[in-house]
Amino acid sequence: MKKTATYVVLGVVGLFMLFPFLWQVSTSLKPAGDVFKSFDNPLKALVPRDVHPENYAQVYETTRAMGGGFARWYLNSILVAVAVTLGQVTTSACAAYAFARLRFPGRDKVFLGYLGTMMIPGAVTVIPNFILMREFHALDSYFALIVPAMFSAYGTFMLRQFFMSIPRDLEEAATIDGCGLMRIFTTIILPLSKPALATLTIFTFMSTWQSFYWPLIMTSEDSMKTLPLGLLTFMGLHSTQWTLLMAGSLMMIVPLIIVFVLGQKWFISGIQLGALKG
């Protein structure tokens, strides 16, 4: 009896979570005019009268004149997300190794400085960054989209915490065998940190994929936009083409869903790792 009640609660909440997605899929497959029909029964609104998968191709066709349109935005997003992720994981891992294992003057002060900046709102730093890029004529470039996002205090902090938890015995043995620090880093620390590295990779990829404020400020040309911005431009031009908008935004979130489902266990551990700072 109690179990049944629990399942009812779980099921109702699950419907609440899934319904918007069903509505999105259904809208994306409808003939353009059908979304503006009134229905006496919401279930009728939910099931497309006839299915139009070519809406998905239309998203590209109708935006093609905008600097290459949806295909270009998709490629930009992939390029930026992959480059930022690689850069951020690499620089964070190196810095985290220095903070966790190598002794040098000023280390702890610099680390405190890193921690302190995690509280500063993005709005504080984004204005000077915009001015900087403008002065160097770097607006509307991949440099502006990628390089500033490659350095993360959060990623450094998270990896440092993880590196600290690795026992030192292995490294000591390797040092006695004459291993250099670089070798210790690449053959001991990194392989042992796969879970943390995987987590940071997933988090960085997803947040860069969704990143909106930064590309909004750094780009104005259509050909340099990433997906979130491209969709927004598209909406401005075709505010009534809900079928295409839903198809476009669905194509944008599908990679996120795939990464999430495949990397679920890293996700859960990552949330808990991030909360340790609390």
């Binding site: 609104a45 504080v124 730093t125 350095f151």
Partner: protein
């Protein structure tokens, strides 16, 4: 070179790439924006030093205070979302078949939260043909105009935020906290005849209080800075400024109206508030949290 000297050198080299990036794109910009807040600058004529003028303007800027209230109004959703997450975590903290499937489904909205889902909800809130009003009409209710209504635009954003967040990170954190509560506590309480409600308030609630405190702190920090993307994608800050938050106001001043100095001043005011809230939270939180 001594071994310590070599280690120190290696330390600097390992740190260098990250540190340079951090310096150029974070540390120096923080200082630059502080300096900028004492200037008036439209990007095209040379910057003028104006002393505290920007901050004085801020004090009498009705729009700033109105948008500040908007920001705080939207943050009223924080406790509601947290209670929702805790409730879901309690329901899920049972050995049931298929629980992983539910967890995945609940988590999904938070994974995809962003422009894609904001567009989706813009369509859901469509007064004539959207999902919500279509459904309400089926049971004979004419729904409000949601994003186009001064009264309903903020609640609409909060409803979407609830969908986005309730099953996400916070629920996972609560679930982990609940799994750390010893079952013996509940057994002892049952022997003493405690009902479900008493068990929740006397055992669960105090035992998860460190998590509650952590989530609250992070949500406050995020809340003060929040609302930009939703407003930009769904409402343009309207109707009549009803969904404009501080972060959106900063964006408008900086990138729409070229008031770089004033925008920097508002950003620093925001930072001060976030900082103060965090400090207060730590001081006050220490007393109500049971570790």
């Amino acid at each position: 070179m001594t071994r310590n000297g070599r280690t120190a050198l290696a330390g600097y080299l390992f740190l260098l790439p990250n540190f340079l990036g951090f310096l150029v794109f974070t540390s120096l910009p923080v200082l630059a924006s502080l300096v900028l807040s004492f200037f008036g600058w439209d990007l095209f004529t040379p910057p003028r030093f104006v002393g505290l003028h920007n901050f004085a303007t801020l004090m009498n800027d009705h729009a700033f205070w109105y948008y500040g209230l908007n920001t705080i109004f939207l943050m009223l959703a924080i406790p509601v979302n947290m209670m929702g997450s805790l409730f879901l975590a309690v329901v899920m903290n049972q050995k049931l078949r298929g629980i992983v499937v539910f967890r995945t489904i609940y988590f999904l909205p938070s994974v995809v939260a962003g422009v894609g889902t904001y567009l989706l909800w813009r369509w859901i809130f469509n007064p004539d043909f959207g999902l919500i009003n279509t459904t309400l009409r089926a049971v004979g209710i004419e729904g409000p105009k949601w994003l186009q209504s001064i009264t309903w635009a903020k609640p609409a954003l909060m409803l979407m935020g609830f969908w986005n967040a309730v099953g996400g990170n916070n629920m996972i954190l609560y679930l982990a906290a609940l799994q750390g509560v010893s079952p013996e506590l509940y057994e002892a309480a049952e022997i003493d005849g405690a009902d479900r409600w008493q068990k929740f308030w006397r055992i669960t609630w105090p035992m998860v209080s460190p998590t509650t405190f952590f989530i609250l702190t992070m949500s406050l920090i995020g809340g003060f800075q929040g609302g930009f993307e939703q407003a930009m994608v769904m409402t343009g800050g309207g109707p009549a400024g009803a969904t404009t938050t501080i972060s959106y106001y900063i964006y408008n001043h900086a990138f729409l109206w070229n008031h770089m100095g004033y925008a920097a001043a508002i950003a620093w005011a925001l930072f001060t508030v976030v900082f103060a809230a965090t400090l207060l939270n730590w001081r006050f939180g220490g007393r109500v949290v049971h570790y």
